[in-house]
């Protein structure tokens, strides 16, 4: 049957014409919606900071002597590479990425201390934000220290650590960029060309 015309005897159109008249919500409707979404955005920021604190707050770590030795070695390596890593290491939190020699791209070492993590990866614009990228999976070095060294192109980049495939954690020792209300606060890194 011709569904559109079957009922078009004028009555229905008269009804529809009345109902098509504009209706507008109260003058303060937009303000109320925006107040609501701003509240959601603020709550998200607080939630992220809460998660962040749980991951990065200094805590007592019980380690076996051989693990402590391994961790100390890893930290020492990072401190040597970063130059200013002493502050970060003193807090047992994380080390900023350290650059290693190359050209066109550089090998960058990313280090995060996350004692309770089961998995740590690095995702950034240099790997398509792919936390599963095999070249950016950090290895647990003991004592809660995770690190990975991977090649990153010369230029400005944003990145984040991804803990246990779900928690996005900005590098506490690197500059942060973009307060993204739907994702994470990312870290920034500038990879310089090799100086010969």
């Amino acid at each position: 049957m011709s569904d559109d015309n079957l009922f078009d005897d004028g009555v229905i159109e008269r009804i529809a014409d009345e109902l098509r008249e504009a209706e507008r919500p109260s003058a303060d409707f937009d303000a109320r919606v925006m107040a609501s979404v701003r509240g959601i955005a603020r709550a998200r920021r607080r939630e992220r900071h809460g998660l962040w604190n749980r991951v990065t707050q200094p805590r007592t770590i019980t380690v076996r002597p051989w693990r402590a030795g391994l961790a100390a070695a890893a930290l020492l390596l990072c401190a040597t590479l970063v130059g200013w890593g002493a502050h970060a290491f003193a807090r047992m939190e994380a080390a900023a990425p350290a650059t290693l020699a190359s050209s066109g791209s550089q090998r960058i070492q990313f280090v995060l201390v996350a004692p309770n993590a089961k998995k740590v990866a690095v995702a950034g614009d240099f790997n398509g934000w792919d936390a599963q990228h095999p070249a950016y999976q950090a290895v647990h070095r003991g004592g809660g220290v995770w690190s990975v060294t991977a090649r990153v192109p010369v230029g400005h980049h944003r990145y984040s650590f991804v803990v246990d495939d779900s928690l996005w954690v900005a590098d506490p020792t690197a500059p942060r960029v973009i307060d993204d209300d739907f994702g994470t606060t990312n870290s920034a890194i500038v990879v310089e060309p090799e100086i010969r």
Partner: protein, 181 residues
């Protein structure tokens, strides 16, 4: 108003520009408020449903698969929200209270006869089964095609056609009882 596409605005919001969401609110509020009014019958419930739809959309914006069709996505959220609200509340009573207020506030620009006609339409619409009211409003007020209606409601095209047909029959029947059409 900013002439940016929905997709461009959605991208800004997802990147953290919360205030850009205001452009989407301004773009869709009036049209979608009309739908909520027809489905729920009073301003208070309609505003609550629409505000909730915008809020839910904001919460889930990063999961909006096709930002270019943000409006259609938001409308689906609103349709569901109106169903939930309509099922919770006693619509008819609230509608009649609302109508009395509307009559008292009515502008003199509208002849009494036209006001009465509109009032009868609202009453008849309120007496339709919710699924028939939904189908009728989508078809004849929002001017959607059956495929679009199906996408918005999750109901098959055949069922929607049947609902529209029954809604039309019922509206004719009710309005012919009280008004010579």
């Amino acid at each position: 108003m900013d002439g940016s596409s929905d997709a461009a605005i959605v991208a800004r919001v997802v990147r953290g520009d919360v205030e850009a969401f205001g452009q989407l609110v301004a773009r869709y509020r009036d049209r979608y408020f009309r739908y909520a009014m027809h489905m729920l019958g009073n301003r208070e419930d309609a505003e609550e449903a629409l505000q909730d739809a915008f809020t839910r959309a904001f919460r889930s914006l990063s999961r909006c698969d096709d930002p270019e069709r943000f409006g259609a996505w938001l409308f689906r959220i609103l349709v569901n929200r109106c169903r939930t609200s309509g099922a919770r509340r006693s619509r008819r009573l609230r509608t009649f209270v609302s109508d009395e207020t509307a009559l008292m506030d009515a502008s003199e620009e509208h002849p009494a006869e036209q006001r009465a006609w509109r009032e009868e339409i609202d009453r008849a619409l309120a007496r339709l089964r919710p699924d028939q009211r939904e189908a009728f409003v989508l078809k004849y007020v929002e001017d959607l095609g059956y495929d679009e209606m199906s996408a918005a409601t999750g109901v098959g095209v055949s069922a929607l056609k049947m609902r529209v047909m029954r809604a039309c029959d019922r509206l004719r029947e009710m309005l012919s009882e009280v008004h010579s059409v």
